[in-house]
């Protein structure tokens, strides 16, 4: 069964550093998403991406965040200057059409 692959599974970074979280969506999918889950809290939408541009973003997705699909296969989330409160599990997801998302297994980001 096709999978959404996220790397790394766990990343530790110092406050103020830039991080790039990587995702390889399912190859024929057209819609891509990033979600965030702070420990013990619910999963929150960050951004959706379609046709090489952001289609929707939440209030959380401020100027510190950016997304890119640099080579037609990878889908990345960049956080420019990490803060302690950015520590969370970050999930990538993709889908082809109206059916359900497929989520990746997540990247645990720890900012120290």
């Amino acid at each position: 069964e096709p999978e959404v692959t996220q790397t790394p599974s766990h990343q530790v970074t110092q406050m103020g550093q830039e991080v790039i979280l990587r995702c390889v969506p399912i190859s024929n999918h057209l819609y891509f998403y990033w979600y965030r889950q702070i420990l013990g809290q619910k999963v929150e939408f960050l951004v959706s991406f379609y046709n090489n541009e952001i289609s929707e973003k939440s209030e959380i997705f401020d100027d510190q965040f950016s997304v890119e699909r640099p080579d037609g296969s990878n889908f990345t989330l960049k956080i420019r200057s990490t803060k302690l409160e950015d520590s969370a599990m970050y999930f990538c997801a993709s889908k082809a059409g109206p059916e359900s998302y497929t989520f990746g297994s997540g990247t645990r980001l720890t900012v120290v």
Partner: protein, 115 residues
């Protein structure tokens, strides 16, 4: 804006018994999807079951079934013959029928299975 409410932060059930997790939602849309996701300790998000709002028939997947009450905006999950592997966080979720719609999650219910 759509909201999803799970009023049970934690539940416990004896192994082999049946348990029902509650979920209510609020929307002004007539067409949408509802989901239950399972999140085990590994924190991966696993789709358990999906319901299209235009379908009157309740979705079932093996031991998992839903009770979808569109007028009441209620979407409960029933797990029959509970197994130890069912222990996890369960999230109820809503998505608009729009092609690119975001998923809106509830706060989750942590399910414990008692041996």
């Amino acid at each position: 804006a759509q909201t999803v409410t799970q009023s049970q932060p934690e539940m416990s059930v004896q192994e082999a018994e049946t348990v029902t997790l509650s979920c209510t939602y609020d929307t002004s849309e007539s067409d949408y999807y509802l989901f239950w996701y399972k999140q085990p300790p590994s924190r991966q998000m696993i789709l358990v079951i999906r319901q299209e709002a235009y379908k009157q028939q309740n979705a079932t997947e093996n031991r998992f079934s839903v009770n979808f009450q569109k007028a009441a905006k209620s979407f409960s999950l029933k797990i029959s013959d509970s197994q130890l592997g069912d222990a996890a966080m369960y999230f109820c979720a809503y998505r608009s029928f729009l092609a690119g719609g975001q998923i809106i999650f509830g706060k989750g219910t942590r399910l414990h299975i008692l041996p």
